[in-house]
Symmetry: C2
Amino acid sequence: MINKYTISEMVEASTAAMVMGQTKNRTARAALLQSIADEIEALGDELLHTASAESHLPIVRFEGERARTCGQLRMFAAAIENGTYREATIDTALPDRKPLPRPDLRSALMPIGPIVVFGSSNFPLAYSTAGGDTASALAAGCSVICKAHPAHPKTSQMVATAIQTALRKHGYPEDLFIHFVTQSFDDVKALVQHPGVKGVGFTGSLKGGMAIHEYARQREEPIPVFAEMGSVNPVLLMPAALQQGAQTWADTYASAITMGVGQFCTNPGLIFGLSGPDLEVFKQHLAQKIAQIRDFKMLNDSIHQNFVNRKQAVTGSKGVNILAHVEATGDGTGTPVLATVQAKDFMEQPTLHEEVFGPFSMVVECENKEEMMRCISALGGQLTTTFIAADADAAVVKSILPTVIRKAGRIIYNGVPTGVEVCDAMVHGGPYPATTDARFTAVGNKAIRRWLRPVAFQNWPEHLLPCILKNENPSEAWRTINGQLTRENL
Amino acid sequence: MINKYTISEMVEASTAAMVMGQTKNRTARAALLQSIADEIEALGDELLHTASAESHLPIVRFEGERARTCGQLRMFAAAIENGTYREATIDTALPDRKPLPRPDLRSALMPIGPIVVFGSSNFPLAYSTAGGDTASALAAGCSVICKAHPAHPKTSQMVATAIQTALRKHGYPEDLFIHFVTQSFDDVKALVQHPGVKGVGFTGSLKGGMAIHEYARQREEPIPVFAEMGSVNPVLLMPAALQQGAQTWADTYASAITMGVGQFCTNPGLIFGLSGPDLEVFKQHLAQKIAQIRDFKMLNDSIHQNFVNRKQAVTGSKGVNILAHVEATGDGTGTPVLATVQAKDFMEQPTLHEEVFGPFSMVVECENKEEMMRCISALGGQLTTTFIAADADAAVVKSILPTVIRKAGRIIYNGVPTGVEVCDAMVHGGPYPATTDARFTAVGNKAIRRWLRPVAFQNWPEHLLPCILKNENPSEAWRTINGQLTRENL
């Protein structure tokens, strides 16, 4: 038997483990997160080889991804250690206020868990079993039930074992993290719909994310579902920048489009430019570069089949021309493709606005700035949008930026959208269909906030208050006291 | 014609007004909020008389509620003025970092609007047209479409006019706030389901809130719906406190249960105590006090009818006894009732766990602490839970508190749940069915956060960045720069 519990037993065990886990303090939780990172590293090269074999991505990629995964766990550990993340807020009593006295009110964030995590196939380490969703939920003090991704079952099991080892070493109940292996949609539905589940984290396709979201929508009790479902990540080529550096940007984008077989949720899938000789240079140079890039095996058969289908649907659409196409050298490979289309045809066919997951991009040729604006306005929400601009483009950028701010979670200036920095200021999120809740981010320290809710204590004796709300502030957490942010004691 | 727009025109006008409104700065927006408060005050006594006539609540109540409404608007104005609410976060570039350089990343919160607001009938000023949801959404920089509450149409129209006057005086597009008068559920459904609507605020009943939430659930694009739907607000009488002050607490609670004809979402609807002579004293004294309180007309016929129906359903349930009952002196009055039930019967009948909106409360008699714990565990999420406790009760309180923290948004010690302070630390929220998203509050400065989402800027030239993310920080907003909270320039 792979799973020792039924769905109900699993949720009950997870809830009980969370309650037990909360008797330990933040320092213990930070040590647990660090220990999970240590245990993952202790799996050694076998983890890298297993992940590579299951995903067809190279070993060197997993060296980086392991560093990212462990760095993320240690970052969350550091982020929770002083307690600032709990947003402690204290308004002291005003007993003489007229017409009514003000009570003493103190609030702090508390974990909402248990959280169900669905990892992604394209980041078998950094966005799967011990990835960002699991790490941020554990950092928040939640328990986690992680549904193992069927595309990398061995990798997932190895990482789950590392987490269990860390839990044992630190005296945490082992059910604080439950690794759930199933291929059954009924199981997934029953889990998401179980009344004891209080939140869901998902990273993957729009179809997958919305299926999970639909299960959650059928619940009586609404719960937060943060699904990161990828996006087309438009790139806007401004005229002066194109004039100055069409070839250089074409080189840069040839790499960005095909890196990792294009299997990134921030892959640049649409490139908008103004028709003219500079855009011709860019297109031709990009096509040349892409035609020289070899194909590699994609993550799994299902992703490959989707890539083939979507690529056909788009390139077979009215007005779409193929500028570069690489021949397949083996089964299941992602063969890079560059296409082009006129804005008018683009606007008419919504299927062209949707993601083609893989090494694919399409240049959309606009007659003028107004047409480019209409194209951007027609797009759905995005994880990222990129401006390629020179100083002389400032006026155009300024006129488009407010529209882009309404559409995207991250806006890049003269760069590529691939490469998601793990830091405080990162926003890896955005309006639907990029995610199901644009008010949060999946990457960076603020990812923890998804799994927390505030609780206020009114007129409590100090000795019964949670530590973070007592007068003394030994950890020097930043707290808002009577409207002022401070690290002082009260 | 009451409404000048169709639903689609309304949403388009609201979106356009929001975009135009965003060209103004925070100082202008703060001035607008203050001006709305001024204009509401300028309506003078006529507003109080109109609200009183439409709600059957006394003039003196509206003096307080107007002060609360205007105070709230001015508080939000003060809260946004220095920009700290935007949670600006800056991670500066690390060009020499290995293996890859870190880009410059800067993020800040942006408005998500337009927001549709459904006010409540029980706070015709403070939680209706210019109430907490409208004020917080405008403070966030969103536009608002407010569906006028049919129970106080004249009050709503007067307040809407005050808002429009303030918008005109400050050069804002008048559609930044649209007052929508309709009695049609189809209209409401079409509005909530319009793709241009990006968030919903609701205050009212569970039935009403879940109807709105269901409309939103049917959308393709998920949007945040914050519905505050009331709760039963359990009160837990600890044994030592009851021994010391049964009569005093009975006096206090007789007022809390019947104040405002019991028409508060924080009305204490269930009181849990341990069977014994002290609980008998409390019950008898509370029954005596409640029997002396006269009935008053309820807010409207629908609320009165619901009160009568729910009261009958509960008092007609197995094992429920009426301890005090006031005879009606007129039509449509809320006649105070105190009931009692044994915990065993309470546990068996879920209808007893649900709110009776009006001057009603029920004492649940538990055999022991364990039975009280089981009762609390069986309850749904709550806006508030109250402990009545003495020093000698500390051990019992400590054992129950973790369960209560999982259930409630605000936990009161030796007080009453009615009276929701408007301040930074207030949490007026809680797990379902109290609200649809426990991660936010409807009252206090943090209510603004419901209507905001983060956007990150990567490697942008400083002159194109939003002001709050530039190096200079003239408003001295608190910002997180390279992990440190600071008010300094970068």
